[in-house]
């Protein structure tokens, strides 16, 4: 029982990331009809927004410490962040420590700009092209973006720690009456799960309860009719692309402390996120969220030592097995609508 609870918890944060990326993918597909293979790169860019803010906050000037030497035997040059000079060491350290949460604010305008530029500059030219062309151009864009990041930040993962207040893990086992240390879960992953829930709820609320959202939903259902009513639906869809970019970016910002960002992290999530979209049902926002959590949890279960003893290698194929099973039994996915990608 405790092992099952543990893997459900483990699946939640992974599922949160899948759900957030798949939500953005579905938003773009549902509004613009574009299969965006560069969406994983937006997740990666978000993570590097956190890295960039951390580097800005730790911009330093050198102070020579005559009492110590560097690797060449010269007096050691110690980096002193400018933020120490401005706020003092204690406050400066606190600001640097909280750089990841602060990067949420930092990343939003950047991701809006990136999303807007991506849609207006490239993707809009491919609206009427076949899906294969869209996949090729967006996949190419993803490779370009990750190579740019690698050029500036290198290929190694870059540690992006969570605030010290969220270090360590919470003992769910002790709370639920199990032995101590049997069900532990890092605080930051709890934060990530809660954050994902808030973002998902905000996106749904925006689409459900605002006039803008209503128009977008109407456009998703019947773009032509909405256009005939004199509404510039293309402009609204461009905004939705930017919102999807922000969602992916925020997912990346907060994911940094879970796995140190590297230039390839977007690709690592992209394929699985597409499987999530297909399993959830093309164009279905609730389906994307549901499938994200479902596949995240299943992946965790498949990694249990007991399961691997019986079915070696199942952890590497479980998501695809589930996808095949669901598509055979429900060809439109869990919550897919009739007519989407069926023409």
């Amino acid at each position: 029982m405790d092992a099952i609870l543990l893997q459900i918890l483990n699946g939640l944060d992974k599922g949160s990331a899948y759900a957030l990326i798949a939500l953005g993918l579905t938003l773009i597909f549902g509004t613009l009809g574009v299969v965006n293979f560069a969406h994983g790169a937006l997740f990666m860019l978000g993570a590097f927004c956190a890295v960039t803010l951390n580097r800005i906050l730790t911009l330093s000037h050198e102070v020579v410490d005559e009492t110590r030497t560097d690797f060449l035997g010269n007096p050691l040059k110690v980096d002193v962040p400018y933020v120490y000079d401005i706020l003092g060491e204690a406050a400066g350290n606190a600001v640097i420590d909280w750089s990841v949460p602060l990067a949420i604010l930092f990343s939003i305008p950047i991701m809006i700009g990136v999303g807007y530029a991506m849609e207006r500059g490239l993707i809009k030219h491919f609206y009427k092209r076949p899906h294969a062309d869209q996949i090729l151009v967006t996949f190419g864009l993803a490779i370009v973006l990750q190579e740019i990041i690698k050029y500036f930040f290198g290929a190694n993962p870059i540690p992006t720690p969570a605030p010290a207040a969220f270090a360590g893990s919470f003992d769910f086992g002790a709370m639920l009456g199990f032995d101590p240390n049997t069900i532990i879960y890092p605080y930051w992953r709890l934060v990530y799960f809660a954050f994902a829930m808030i973002i998902i709820a905000a996106v749904f609320a925006f689409l459900q309860f605002t006039t803008f959202g209503m128009v977008v939903r109407a456009g998703m259902a019947d773009r032509e009719t909405v256009g005939l009513l004199g509404i510039d639906i293309d402009k609204r869809f461009t905004v939705m692309f930017a919102i999807a970019a922000v969602v992916a970016g925020l997912a990346g910002v907060m994911y940094g402390p879970i796995n140190a960002p590297n230039y390839h992290m977007g690709m690592d999530f992209l394929v699985l996120s597409f499987v999530v979209v297909v399993v959830g049902g093309m164009g279905s926002l609730p389906g994307a969220v549901l499938a994200g959590f479902l596949l995240g949890i299943l992946e965790s279960f498949a990694s249990m030592a007991g399961v691997l003893e019986v079915l070696p290698g199942i952890n590497q194929i479980i998501i695809y097995l589930v996808a095949i099973t669901i598509l055979l039994t429900r060809p439109r996915g869990l919550m897919g609508r009739k007519g989407v990608m069926e023409d």
């Binding site: 918890l9 483990n10 992974k14 690797f71 720690p161 992953r189 796995n259 249990m304």
Partner: protein, 462 residues
């Protein structure tokens, strides 16, 4: 140029020499091969010789590859008489005089392994067939090393391995044309186990997470064997996919297993992520079996430690070389380790040129280039069989690891091994590891036959 070009050219140029070579009794030494610069693949023509540096320039190990390339460029500069000479000044063999190799100026070409065996073979093949590389060196993965080594054996050129730690490279997959300066999994296990037993006691239960490929298997086996010999129990060994990025589902069950030690047989991005996840789960703050829970990383790399940040603090591992050898230090048990002249020369040379200290990958690649050049000079020929004979059972010093033997039985270097630990109070982004013990070579030496394999016969190509 296709592979058939090499064969055709080789046959035309060296047919007679190969025939003579086949008839040559094995008692002949390298001096016999050294008779002339023909009869082998890519015999240098003119006054230059081309080396092929095959390193990961893209992919996850690109930073490590970039450091290897820096070291190669520095080595070429020194071989051609430039710079301050680096470890040429401390190397016990004095055949290299700054005039290149055998009087030929050293030039080089580079390839991108992408840390993929097929890409690495393709780039090595291109450098041999198109660019005329006489020797291939580099790499940051055992899978790549084994694949490129086999290609070099077929092509008839020397392969001087870069960073490859699997026992198999000079074990079951060893080749007559391949040589490794870097240490291996067995040596890591043999060096680490006594230090671990001393630090954590002999009554420990270990849980292994192991990267699901060649290097992971040999490292896990080495650490398990060495620690069990000292009384530890191995609770479980779980294989993790090489593509895994989030290890939480593998780490969460560790505490339920009753283990009080987690061994992460991971390297590169896998190591960074698994260690980060383990620390996030607070494993190191837990008490299990009335002992502090501990984590071990058998193979450390400073570049990777940088990726893991503060998570490496206090965690034991092993390394082939560390720049702090240049300055000397006192180990935690009070042993004074004097500054090493070779390391000092290399760190100074590399540091002044690039502005930061070299990694162990850079060190082994620099050493391999010098060792190859010296072997050619001693053999008096670029013929790979002559060079191989010169490297076999070659004893040297002054390259940063103390007295070292290039064992002829398996073409593996034997030297002291460093046991390191993540530093609690680093002074810079390079000062992440501290050496806690210099394990003497006698403790990590093994019988060449234990890993099987067969060197086969040297192939001069052509």
């Amino acid at each position: 140029m296709s592979k058939s070009d090499i064969s055709r050219r080789g046959v035309l140029r060296t047919g007679a020499a190969v025939g003579a070579g086949l008839a040559t009794p094995t008692i002949f030494t390298s001096q016999v091969w050294g008779g002339g610069h023909t009869g082998f693949t890519n015999a240098p023509q003119g006054d230059t010789v081309t080396l092929g540096f095959n390193v990961p320039q893209s992919g996850a190990y690109a930073d490590e590859g970039a450091d290897e390339l820096r070291a190669y460029e520095l080595a070429v500069e020194h071989l051609n008489g430039g710079g301050d000479g680096g470890m040429l000044n401390t190397f016990s063999s004095k055949t290299i005089d700054g005039t290149g190799i055998l009087g030929k100026k050293v030039e080089y070409v580079t390839g991108d392994t992408q840390t993929k065996s097929d890409a690495a073979r393709a780039s090595a093949r291109s450098m041999i067939e198109k660019d005329g590389a006489i020797m291939i060196t580099g790499g940051s993965s055992s899978g790549v090393a084994v694949a490129v080594q086999a290609l070099c054996q077929e092509a008839g050129v020397i392969f001087m391995a870069g960073l490859t730690h699997s026992n198999d490279t000079t074990g079951k997959d060893k080749k007559a044309n391949g040589f490794r300066h870097f240490f291996n999994s067995y040596m890591s296990g043999a060096a680490l186990a006594p230090v671990l037993a001393k630090a954590y006691g002999t009554d420990r239960k270990a849980y292994h997470l192991t990267a699901d490929y060649n290097w992971g298997y040999t490292t896990q086996e080495a650490v398990q064997t060495s620690t069990e010999a000292l009384g530890w129990e191995t609770v479980n060994n779980v294989l993790t996919p090489l593509t895994q990025t989030d290890f939480s589902s593998y780490i969460a069950p560790v505490l339920q297993s009753g283990a009080d030690v987690l061994v992460l047989n991971h390297y590169g991005g896998n190591m960074v992520n698994s260690l980060t996840n383990a620390v996030q789960f607070g494993l190191r703050d837990k008490m299990v079996n009335d002992k502090n829970f501990e984590i071990i990383v058998p193979l450390y790399s400073r570049l990777m430690a940088k990726g893991a940040g503060a998570n490496v603090k206090g965690i034991f591992g092993s390394t082939n070389w560390h720049w702090s050898l240049a300055q000397g230090f006192t180990t935690p048990d009070g042993t004074e380790v004097a500054p090493d002249a070779g390391s000092a020369a290399f760190v100074k040379s590399f540091g002044e040129k690039y502005g930061f200290p070299p990694s162990q990958a850079a060190h082994t690649c620099y050493c391999q280039t010098l060792l190859y050049a010296d072997a050619v000079n001693r053999a008096g020929s670029f013929n790979p069989c002559a060079v191989g004979e010169a490297l076999k059972d070659f004893e040297f010093d002054g390259l940063g690891n103390g007295p070292t033997l290039y064992r002829g039985d398996d073409h593996q270097c034997f030297k002291d091994v460093l046991v390191v630990r993540g530093k609690e109070n680093p002074t810079s982004e390079f000062d992440l590891l501290e050496v806690v013990e210099v394990t003497p070579v006698s403790q990590v030496t093994y019988d060449a036959s234990i890993f099987g394999g067969d060197l086969g016969t040297c192939n001069p190509g052509a």
